[in-house]
Amino acid sequence: MLEIVLFYIAATVALVATVMAMTRANAIHALIYLIVSLLAVAVIFFLIGAPFAAALEIVIYAGAIMVLFVFVIMMLNLGEKGDKQERQWLQPSIWAGPAILSVVLLIELVMVISQTSGPVSITAVSAKEVGLSLFGPYVLAVEIASMLLLAGLVGSFHLGRRYLERDNLEKQGGQ
């Protein structure tokens, strides 16, 4: 019984934090709400019997990926001017149309989901089973994921390197 109550609390926290993250003007504030949302989803993972997924969610999503965002926002150094521009872009006349359409789609999705039969229970999956399956039948997927990460590494290095090089060139030209 306790886990059901905890699940609903975590789900509420996740939804509220995500809504707050999507409507903030300041990027850092939005990022902190997003981290809270990811932590709440990690709690949900733990409660539905996926402790390994919960650990990965915290370590990789809330840890590594969000730190990347923080670094880039710090490098951009937007400040007060960026906040004012964001508030100007967040007028209700701009987002009312998309909001109504996506709420309609959401209602359809909720109707489809709620048509499936009553309470269906779930069972826990241990980390050992995940590991055995990951390096058994799914070993090709692991290889493809590693190649994708390599491509991401090379791509981001290329983009970031040109950014830094031009900065240096301009400074040298200025001197």
Binding site: M22, A27, L47, I65, L68, A124, S133, A151, S156, G160
Partner: protein, 104 residues
């Protein structure tokens, strides 16, 4: 941890709500950083649905797809944030509408 009685419907409901919020954020925002954040929320919602389905069938496949989604999200964010730096450098703004032409 066997016999957890959280209804699958409600987990899928939370997942679809998160996905809808992410999609809304994607549509109403013009700042590239917020667009990337919305994409993260949407990927996370899809991952939640996969893990819930895997827990429903008692199979590890859901969590493996979750790991693949995590890999895709990491690679996407790395390249996307590199592009954010380039856009800020070139157009002096983060407005997506300024970067709609592929000029060199």
């Amino acid at each position: 941890m066997d016999g957890l009685n959280i209804p699958l419907n409600h987990i899928l409901l939370v997942s679809s709500l998160l996905f809808a919020i992410g999609m809304l954020g994607l549509m109403i925002r013009r700042n590239i950083i917020f667009i990337l954040m919305s994409l993260e929320v949407m990927l996370n919602a899809a991952a939640l649905a996969f893990v819930a389905a895997g827990a429903h069938w008692g199979q590890p496949d859901g969590q493996i797809v979750f790991m693949l989604i995590l890999t895709v999200a990491a690679a996407e964010v790395a390249v996307g944030l590199g592009l954010v730096l380039q856009v800020q450098k070139r157009f002096k703004t983060l407005d997506m509408d300024h970067a709609n032409r592929m000029q060199g």
